[in-house]
Amino acid sequence: MRRVRQWQPALRDSAQWAQIACYRARMHATVVVFPGSNADAEMIHTLRDVVQVRTEVAWHRDAELPAGTDLVAIPGGFSYGDYLRCGAIAKVSPIVAAIRRHVDRGGAVLGVCNGFQILTEAGLLPGALTRNLHLRFECRDIFVKPVSEGPFTSGLPRVLRLPIAHAEGRYQAAPDVLASLEKDGLVALRYCDSAGAITEDANPNGSLSSIAGIYGGPKKNVLGLMPHPERMSEPLVGYSDGRAIFDAIVRSMARSSRPAAQLSAAS
């Protein structure tokens, strides 16, 4: 039988483990569904059954997120049929106004693929995602390298294998925007080869500076990325590297949540 590489978080001590387990039991994720979303089922499954956090679903017309939402996940797909531009129509839906308020409060938001496109269109992340360099819909596994510390990327393996499935994923930004992203450590993930080398060949869509994902929000609380971590999060599908991103956000939110901090102080 083929041995499947499974990512295991390195836990320094059992108090930390207890804090995270305790937080995981209370954490509340919301998956936002637009007409045309098509990766919502795997996002819900991964959060609910693999990461094992309470997961609710919000519809694009909802004016508010479910009360107590800690993490908002915007899944991939073709919201509103990609009319006008990917994510352009979605950005005016009532739920995006609620997501904007969540971001301003420091709430965590994960946008995958079309979710990333919606976040850039809404101005919650800088730059834009444009037609892939070679005009192909790229549907295959690639490798990414975390290049900045943050709530979604701290403690990740050096290289992650993740699937992509997009035609419009070429990250573009004005030179001054790119310079400030680099300076502020907001580039979260870059495409690389299996050994972690960032090369032109390993860049599947011609993204500027091999950018696969970027951070935004007041506290790096927003992450947009083109690859689909929710589609590679359990050994059943061959690799589970994507799970590391979900575990990272649970760890980071556990650390910053007050009741859990009290628990850790008491132990």
Binding site: A88, T120, P126, A128, T130, R131, N132, H134, L135, G206
Partner: protein
């Protein structure tokens, strides 16, 4: 009143679609094509029942282009206004 909004990729943004069309044109035997860029054309008709001044409409169109029709990060918009009679 009718307006036409031309949305084009900014000069500095690579247009792979335009490049593909350029190659296809050369396959068809068209020579001397230096560059092809693809954009969008959005036609907007205004309600004649509630007429607005051309200045008002122009301001509104600029806002429409900025907020929705074009993505200012990668695209430029040019607006043309024409009386409805000409449509």
């Amino acid at each position: 009143m009718k307006a036409t909004v031309f949305v084009r990729l900014k000069r500095e943004v690579l247009d792979p679609q335009g490049d593909a069309i350029k190659r296809a044109l050369s396959v068809l035997g068209f020579e001397g094509v230096r560059d092809v860029r693809v954009g969008k054309l959005v036609e907007i008709e205004f309600d004649d029942e509630a007429p607005k001044s051309p200045d008002q409409i122009k301001t509104e169109l600029a806002k429409m282009a900025d907020e929705l029709l074009a993505n200012p990060v990668i695209e430029d918009a040019r607006i043309e206004l024409s009386p409805a009679a000409q449509k």
